[in-house]
Symmetry: C2
Subunit: 432 residues, 2 copies
């Protein structure tokens, strides 16, 4: 045995979830899952490792190659830990797409790794819900993903005005690019700059944009676009957009969201771009309005072209990817996390006498059958010590079962909060 002493700390940027923390993550994941199921989605999972090449084919600067954890297996194949789900699920769906009834509504809750510098809301290992509709290119699937996103947030009962759904459309951006005369080979770079518009200083933004062969006039038009407040003012600023499909989709989405009762949550936001290159229609972000946590909670959009890399005919796709860290920050900022008393609905069954040890096993068996979460005492304790232990762990209730109770043919359940006791008839049978 090695005598070297090792650190008991986690790898940097990754976190142990002790039960109190697990409880919170589980709470978040359960709500996510519940809403996805209520929308008729079904759950899947893909492997933690993928051939590294699927990330090299088409991605975005959000997941650059430098952020991939890559290594070689025994067959000298380059494998990578998944940094996002979209390439994996596109790969998986491409295997079954032609034989499946459409649309396909899939979701998963899985862990991912990016080899990047940890920062607030961004860990090296993180968990994400991925929820996508494949095989439908209508405005109604855009709408479904948007209402699902809103229902996910609303399921946590946030206060009024705590968040906003910012909506944009990549096709509209392309149409604006033609108006501005943006060169084809500068589009990707310009889109990435626009994604950083709110983060860069005005001067930096301008000088970087001008480097993309954008003229001063066009730059001013770009600023005008990025600061548009609503779809109608956009049309008066850019009459050339009259026939823009992106603008038509946007108006339609706003119109329908109003009609089905989500009007109060939505806002046209031309500066919402999303970091991934594969988006090609609707893009959106749910944004926390709390002054201390002014940031995107999560986003999503349409990515019809991605499946091409797997050789199947291209199929339409629209989806979202909320992450655990940013979602938790939102819930924290509005005080929406559940209280952490994880043993609240547990009960403690102490061993009050050595002679009772088999009987205590049988009683635990019976109580478990009745649906109790029973923590059984493993060494003989006095009742005072037992109550102390249950108090310290904040266990919901304690079972009192000693020699006295045995001779009376009973046991007692004591609620640790109220102090109420219930007396129950003992009925043990080892061969139930």
């Amino acid at each position: 045995m090695s005598k070297k002493i090792l650190s008991n700390q986690e790898v940097k940027g990754m976190n142990d979830w002790l039960p109190e923390e697990f409880f919170i993550r589980k709470y978040i994941f359960s709500k996510w899952r519940e809403v996805c199921l209520s929308y008729g989605f079904v759950e899947y999972l893909t492997p933690i490792l993928e051939n590294a090449e699927i990330y090299k084919a088409k991605s975005g600067e959000d997941v650059g190659l430098k952020e991939l954890m890559i290594f070689k297996d025994r067959g000298d194949r380059e494998l990578a830990i998944r940094p996002e789900m979209t390439p994996s699920v596109s790969r998986m769906v491409s295997k079954i797409y032609s034989s499946s009834p459409k649309p396909i509504r899939f979701f998963s809750i899985a862990n991912f790794v990016r080899n990047e510098k940890p920062q607030r809301g961004r860990n090296r290992e993180f968990w994400q819900l991925n929820c996508d509709i494949f095989g439908d290119n209508s405005i109604l699937s855009d709408l479904e993903i948007l209402t699902l996103s809103l229902d996910i947030v609303l399921s946590f009962n946030p206060p009024k005005d705590s968040f906003v759904l910012k909506i944009n459309n990549r096709k509209l951006i392309n149409d604006v690019f033609s108006i501005l005369g943006v060169k084809k080979d500068k589009e990707v770079e310009l889109i990435r700059l626009m994604d950083k518009y709110r983060k860069l200083s005005k001067d930096d933004f301008k000088s970087l944009v001008l480097k993309c062969d954008i003229k001063e006039d066009s730059f001013n038009d770009l600023l005008k676009f990025l600061n548009s407040k609503d779809v109608s003012s956009l049309l008066s600023d850019f009459p050339e957009l009259k026939n823009s499909e992106g603008l038509k989709e946007l108006s339609d989405v706003f119109d329908r969201l109003e009609k089905i009762g989500f009007g109060e949550y939505i806002q046209f936001s031309p500066d919402v771009i999303r970091g991934f290159d594969y988006y090609d229609g609707l893009v959106f972000e749910i944004f926390d309005k709390h002054p201390d946590n002014s940031r995107a909670i999560f986003g999503g959009g349409r990515y019809n072209g991605l499946s091409e890399i797997f050789g199947s005919s291209s199929f339409p796709a629209v989806g979202i990817a909320p992450g655990d860290e940013t979602f938790k920050l939102f819930l924290e900022s509005w005080n929406l996390l559940p209280n952490k008393n994880i043993y609240n609905n547990y009960c403690y069954l102490p061993l009050l006498s050595e002679s009772l040890s088999e009987k205590v096993f049988l009683l635990a068996k019976k109580l478990r059958k009745d649906g109790f979460k029973v923590e059984q005492g493993l060494s003989v304790t006095k009742i005072g010590k037992a109550l102390e232990y249950a108090n310290k762990k904040m266990i919901g209730s304690i079972i009192v079962f000693g020699e006295d109770e045995l001779s009376q043919g009973i046991y007692k359940i004591k609620d640790m909060k109220s102090g109420d006791e219930k007396i129950i008839k003992l009925n043990l049978n080892s061969h139930e």
Copy 2:
């Protein structure tokens, strides 16, 4: 965009879980979780990556270094994907051990990767339940882990005589080793050979054992030990074991398991060793008795020494680690898997007329609030096509809501199996 066409197959030895497969895994995990919770355990999770050194410190040949997926992060640290949970959870518990009420009952359900050749019941990525009691060294915690293991299997309602719990004790093996005069430096090697006793040919086993400096006489005694059928016959073969602590523990465990009603499932099995070096007391395996799947379903044991590598004072630990693949093989062999009709409790709400599209959103919203899993139609369909779609996907029920129903102020829920229809009054409100 790259035009190269990529394979849509998974990395070798790893599997996509399409929803039908996910449904089965989830079924297994839910039962595992349910039993652990009923025993008063709480759930945790550790990161997917660990510093590689924690696997180098103490392991066994089950997870050799050659099976680790190791790579370097940007800080040039060697990281490994976890190949098992025990070192991680020992690391995590060592952080909180001294400040926590004991015993600590922790479980997790997580994924692991081993860079090995895939074979039946053994994938490169797999999922495991890890369920451990830390901080108690009594026979009662051994017993709790054993009954929990049995209850996990029993929760799937297996037929009588479908499995057996094989029990052994590493301390007993050590005592037998002193009787046989095994040299200290040969113990690890000999234990590994004993672990393979049923797999090796008699001749191979003998010649390998003799290479461990074992004399012919001692070899025959070893065979006698490995073929002992019960604890009492063991004592007549080896009277020197009268004071063996391992034998005492074993007898005690058998005695108590009988008394609390688990006698029919248990068997003393001196050839059950378990591959990990860190076991140092109770070891056991639950074994499938199906002739087509005669193999261990899972196992566990006591490993009191492992925590030492993290510098905390050594703490007692006993636990189990059922894996998804082998557990599924057991359920398959006895036909205990649930049927795969995953859309059984879903309902389909087709869009029967373009003019209804907002109303359909509102109806879906209402139905979801009432607890339905609603798959909403995204393009206009005739009712005949809609029924065909629901049939093909085996969706449980369909909502009939067309112009006629709207004018009557109703909608219908039709059960797709029985054909029964329920008529329900329409009551839509966009601002509920």
